[in-house]
């Protein structure tokens, strides 16, 4: 059940990069949200290296060394490295554990030699298949939980996941612009699966003294955002993707209600809303994740970040060194600029510049600019009677904001799609049980393998 009843901040003006209401301290003298922004570098192994544990551990060893070396080389004071699991690292719990341990060994060495502050996030791969198995009692789940344990035991400071509950529904509904099904898949089923999953993650984190980090709606809202694509693309309307993001915020919040502390997972673009509600530090990615995917809010999304990430970059050589070193440098200079603004008392100006450069570029940036994100957050906490009610309220608020600002330019195609989705949202039942029963009848027929039992229903 929803827990948050009020906002952590009195207004969006209070929210700024580098500072969170509830800073998190872990790793090697590493504090997130305590006044400064740090980079979070996500290295990705080359295809083929995942063939054996030996080759994969070796690959990580090289990547992590390159990252730490570059930090020292150009004077970056601290960094978090995310071990974003490829399937084999979770499928074989000892692999994930050993890579975490190796990363920790290297980070400790650089801390000892150079005073480089650091921390490790381990993000476990959720490879459960909701349309094929009992996701509350499967081998995949068992392996995932084991890998959380081995990672924490190996030295991961932050345990995170990109959970996939409700994805069987949203994969069907997003491409069809079915807002009802998207609300059901993410807002209801996704939230229920998060509650189930995060109780377990928090328990494991507490057992090993690690910090339960966060979750992201990468599997759903990011799918909608990527499909909406750039200005030329029309396969999913940008307005629809923005509504999906608002719904995702209500869902991602469940991790923090179950005890996650942050910093949140970098690809959760909804995290600005999470910070406004919870006060937890957030990790964000924007222009620096162009190596992984394009988005239309490259500057704006940094406005309230506490960690600044690159999403994922595959390990290769470039003229300026390996990719992981190059992106460490880019992130390092970005955060140096933010931290200098903080030191010189110009943080609010820099925040405003970031926001204004992207606020009207696209609907996604528009609803995630701090003032609108805050309004969506308020809609979530003031409709906390059920996961459904608050997710629906978030979407309706996002829609109202988009329709209410004449500076936000929308094509007729985008506007019609938004108005049609809004009509559907307004017409939905008020009670969660009515909504679930309506959707169950529909999607059980449309989606082979979908079962309510996976969500405790």
């Amino acid at each position: 059940m929803p827990k948050f009843e009020k906002m952590a901040y009195a207004s969006s003006d209070e929210m700024i990069f580098g500072t969170a209401k509830n800073p998190v301290k872990y790793g090697r003298d590493f504090t997130v949200g305590g006044g400064y922004v740090f980079p979070e570098l996500v290295p990705h192994p080359r295809p083929g290296t995942e063939a054996t544990k030996k080759t994969l551990v070796k690959e990580y060893e090289k990547m992590v060394t390159d990252v730490l070396d570059r930090c020292v080389a150009i004077g970056i004071p601290g960094i978090q490295i995310e071990l974003e699991h490829v399937y084999q690292m979770t499928r074989n719990p000892d692999w994930g554990g050993e890579i975490a341990a190796e990363t920790k060994r290297l980070q400790e060495e650089y801390y000892r030699k150079f005073g480089l502050k650091s921390a490790i996030r381990a993000t476990i791969a959720d490879y459960r298949k909701p349309d094929e198995e009992d996701i509350r009692n499967s081998v995949a789940l068992e392996n995932m939980l084991k890998t959380f344990e081995t990672s924490a035991a190996g030295g991961a400071d932050n345990l995170s996941i990109e959970s996939v509950g409700g994805k069987e529904i949203s994969d069907y509904t997003i491409v069809r612009q079915d807002i009802r099904g998207t609300l059901f898949g993410i807002g209801v089923l996704g939230s229920r699966d998060m509650e189930f999953m995060w109780k377990k993650v928090v328990e494991i984190a507490n057992k090993y003294g690690a910090t339960p980090g966060g979750d992201t709606n990468c599997a759903q809202a990011n799918v909608a955002m990527f499909m909406a694509g750039g200005y030329q693309d029309r396969s999913v309307p940008h307005t629809f993707a923005a509504l999906t993001r608002a719904i995702a915020a209500a869902r991602t919040l469940v991790a923090y209600e179950q005890g996650a502390k942050g910093p949140t997972k970098d690809c959760g673009y909804e995290d600005v809303i999470i910070k406004a509600i919870t006060g937890n530090p957030i990790s964000m990615e924007g222009k620096t994740c162009a190596c992984a995917h394009s988005d239309l809010l490259g500057n704006l999304v940094a406005a309230c970040c506490d960690l600044w990430s690159n999403e994922a970059v595959e390990y290769h050589d470039m003229f300026g060194g390996t990719t992981v070193a190059v992106f460490t440098e880019i992130l390092g200079y970005d955060v140096a600029l933010m931290n200098t603004a903080i030191e010189m008392g110009h943080a609010k100006i820099l925040k405003e510049l970031m926001v204004q450069s992207d606020k009207y570029r696209d609907t996604h940036g528009f609803i995630l600019c701090p003032e609108n994100a805050y309004e969506i957050g308020k809609a979530i906490v003031s409709n906390n009677t059920s996961y459904y009610a608050r997710a629906r309220a978030a979407a309706i608020k996002a829609g109202e904001l988009m329709l209410g600002d004449s500076n936000l330019q929308m094509s007729a195609f985008e506007k019609e799609s938004l108005q049609s989705a809004m009509r559907t949202l307004e017409s939905l039942p008020d009670k969660e049980e009515d909504f679930i029963s309506e959707c169950a009848d529909i999607y059980k027929k449309l989606i082979p393998g979908f079962t309510l039992a996976n969500y405790g229903l």
């Binding site: 491409v175 069809r176 612009q177 049609s420 529909i442 027929k445 449309l446 082979p448």
Partner: protein, 554 residues
Amino acid sequence: MSRIGIALDLGTSGFRGQALDLENKEIIATVLTARHPLPGANVMDHLNFAIELGLEIAHSIVIETVNQVIDYLQVPVNNIERLAVCGNPIQLSLFEGIEIRDLAYAGERKKKLMGIVPPNRDAKKLTAADIDGLKLPKKASVFIPAAVKHEIGADALAMMVKSNLLDCEEIALVTDYGTNAEMALKVGNRIITGSCAAGPALEGQHIEFGMLAAPGAVHDIEPEIVGFRCFVLSDEMMSVPGDLVDLTAPTVIEKGRARIAGITGTGVISIIHESKAANLIKLPEIKTPDKRLHLGKEVCFTEHDIVEAGKAIGAIRAGFITLAQEAGIELSDIKTAYMAGASGTYVNAVKALQVGLVPPGVQKIYQVGNTSLALARDIVFDPDKLWELQSLAQQLRTNHCMFGESQVFERAYLLELSLWGEGMPWEQYHRFSKMYKLPELIEPTKNPEVIRLYERDIPDLGYRGVSYIDRVGYTSKVTFPGCTGCGTCIEKCPEKALAFPDNNDISILIRPDRCNGTACKRCEVNCPEKIFKFSLISFLPETPISEQNNQAKT
């Protein structure tokens, strides 16, 4: 068996024939052909074919198919005493084997220059011996009804008479929905007719999974709480609930009572209407992941199909816009619509109105069946009708509007093509329409009164029932000296009309009923050796149809 008469409707997309018992005044049997035997998809193609390859060839192919229809009716030929035909002037002229070039060229000077003398198209009573190749007893009478004027054919007359348009006091429009759509607008005592080549989409042709009404054909879809229910023709040709489908994915949600084999023209209209209502079509795009609308696992509806259907719907809408302009009325003044022809009978009239096939302001829609065959039947039973109709035709104060020469039609049709095929927004359509001073296209009436006079387009199929001729006409064979047998022509043919013979002979087999005719010629254009010559194909039968191996089902 007693004395027999034959009623024939020569339509642009196929022939329909009935054997009639003249003594008991009852219908014995009905035969429908799946296609027209001549290459091409509309009357202009047929005309062009007849002019390029010769009237005699076209006439002989038409007559061979009429013989095929009579053969399939399975009545003793010697007992046949009368035959009456109905159809548009082009089809009737091809049947009779008379001059057709006057119908091809509109300009009077051109006709004079070419020495074309329009033939007499008054009502005629001939004998079978007068029609070359017609396999009936020589003395059997052949009745050909009058054209109102030479451009306004017997089919238009049939449509006006059999629909009761002439008795209607309100402003009314009657349309015979077919490959060649005939329409007549009645304003007071004045009647303006028009005829447009709508193309074959409303007959289910040129649609990827299109088919004529036959078992397995989806003719309507209806939304349910989950998915859409397909209504399918059973083996008995009755509409039964078929599969419940998810239009957005190739799956079946719930099995129905009949398998789905294809989509009829009326199915096309229903799919367009329902998908637009469900936001699955935003012209000209289909908004599903794979840009197709799925009727189960095998049959689907594509964006290309929308364009094809749009050509037909757009031509018809442009037609009544033009007639309204000609009559000096607004579309909202047309209060009654009569829908004739097979498509006009089976289509869900309300859906047809919503997609644009019926004038938008109508309060009453009558669905009147196949008027052309009905008129031919009236004449067979009572030959005096021929002369009554002739005098009626002379009394009618009709004007014919040549759409081909009308700037109003040209503009209205251009807007329609832009709307259906190019994604022109409605606002722009209305802006241009206003600029061109066209009658305003208002929102369709929500709940018109629909009066369906008959359950079927041919209400009585006869006590022996109906037979279908799937393979119309005969296959001809051509050998081009220098042909390498590469098969490019076969591959490029959009209608799969070409094939190699079974033996290893380097020649090409051609099915004229499938061929798109002189308007297509992709076979000729794509031949790498440049030796394929469409004009060298002999379309005359080497052996008569009745002796060829026909595939038909009863």
